[in-house]
Symmetry: C2
Subunit: 250 residues, 2 copies
DNA sequence: CGATCTCTTGATTCTCCTCAAATGCGGTGG
DNA sequence: CCACCGCATTTGAGGAGAATCAAGAGATCG
């Protein structure tokens, strides 16, 4: 069931059959399905469980008093929200869906127990958490320094590569299910300007975007135009060396 | 020696005498002192150790190919950089000093060993890491949605409250040792505009800034003007309940 | 097939940037 | 002690990028 999640963790480490089974079990416990534009977690909620996105897109966002909304992270299939959140008393931001979403609600105790029994999983969850933090920092750079075109191009590169990591791309295209208003809230730009920036990217042939279908004919070119370097995604299979150190316990 | 650090951890939990002693030991191992505008960690370095700031200000930043620099985090006395970084192979951003800095270089093994023997410390390091992530998300909101005045005001609120947490404020004032250029790189604004924004904040009486000395006569007013809410700093002494659950093992 | 959401376009405004130069300030050496 | 230097701050003028406002065209969905 959590195939995207397993696939993502295996970008970093090798999981044994037992590891995989344990994760399947955790996910089976409590499945939820919600429509688009609904909240999964609300600011102020107590931090009792984590959510694993199985299908659809969600985001973490913060709404200011006057209505302005900033999306600070996208959650794609396979993403785990707030892995180690239980130390904090309450959520400081909300998590909401962008599309219809299927997700597993995992209690922190369950996840903790599994992680304790499966060191590989623990390690992989760590990696995932640190990569998320790294992405967050890169978003800060993106909003602070890059022009609208670079910024949006950078996001599209990131999303494409992350989707690729969980097997949700086909050749040079993937689905981009967000509205332009969502993109605007993520990039700190107005909807109108997102629209014009997309046109600019289209005009220069860097992307083809029809409906919800995004094609990136030349990823390297888009990366160059957006000052994108993928190192912050840490997809270099760092943990694969674990095979040597600690043989699979099947 | 690491008094600011201890003080910060105790915002969250109570440390036993043994805990404190263990941390003192770790910090004594390798002290380093560097001047302003030097790098402590460079992008691409292997992630072998963590740095604990004892005195002075540093920052995490990323430099784009064309020279633009974004500061993504400030490190104040008592801040620990890259606590659990060892899972990732290499650093994706650099850490540099803003002022002269004294810091302790702690090998990941040493820190890991101490944390393993002292569950309270482990817990506190977790809390610290999650709070850092929370701050990072708030910076994303700051850059994405807030106007120059709000943005800068928000930063000053955050810095003041963080300094307060480690005992580095006196009444309504504290030291702000950064140059306006540093602030500009942190806020994604130009130096010129930072200057004018500071004047605006001064003009409205929200701050008094003379040289390196910052006074915030009415913190609540500055918070209101900047749409600042301190919840994301999680200073609500979350872990104090640990006293009840797990008595001090002295 | 009308209602609603999303996307697109045009016109205008404003925030913030860039370029350029002046002023102030802390240190250093004559 | 003062002259000078380098750096940080301040000020001015003009311009670019993005926001806002408003309205029309296309989708999508009950």
């Amino acid at each position: 069931m959590p195939r995207h999640f397993l696939r993502k963790l295996e970008l970093f480490t090798r999981l044994s059959a037992a590891d995989r089974q344990a994760l399947e079990g955790v996910v089976g416990e409590k499945l939820r399905r919600v429509g688009p534009r609904e909240d999964i977690v609300r600011e102020g909620d107590s931090a009792s469980h984590v959510s694993l996105i199985l299908d659809g897109w969600a985001c973490r966002y913060k709404q200011l008093e006057d209505g302005r909304r900033q999306i600070v992270a996208f959650f794609l299939p396979g993403d785990l929200c707030d892995t180690f959140i239980d130390v904090l008393r309450e959520m400081d931001q909300s998590i909401g869906t962008l599309t219809p979403v299927t997700f597993a609600e995992i209690s922190r105790d369950t996840l903790g127990a599994v992680a304790a029994r499966h060191p590989r999983i623990m390690q992989a969850l760590w990696w995932d958490t640190l990569v998320s933090a790294s992405i967050q920092r890169e978003w800060t750079v993106n909003l602070g320094q890059r022009s609208a075109t670079e910024r949006l191009g950078h996001l599209l590169c990131e999303v494409f590569i992350r989707l690729q990591g969980v097997g949700l791309t086909e050749g040079d295209h993937c689905v981009l299910p967000t509205t332009q208003a969502d993109l605007a809230d993520a990039m700190g730009l107005s909807t109108v300007h997102i629209n014009r920036t997309l046109q600019e990217l289209r005009g220069s042939g860097l992307i083809v975007l029809k409906g919800r279908n995004l094609t990136i004919p030349d990823l390297a070119a888009l990366q160059a135009a957006s000052l994108f370097t993928p190192n912050y995604l840490h997809l270099d299979h760092v943990g694969r060396h674990l095979d040597a150190v600690e043989p699979l316990a099947v």
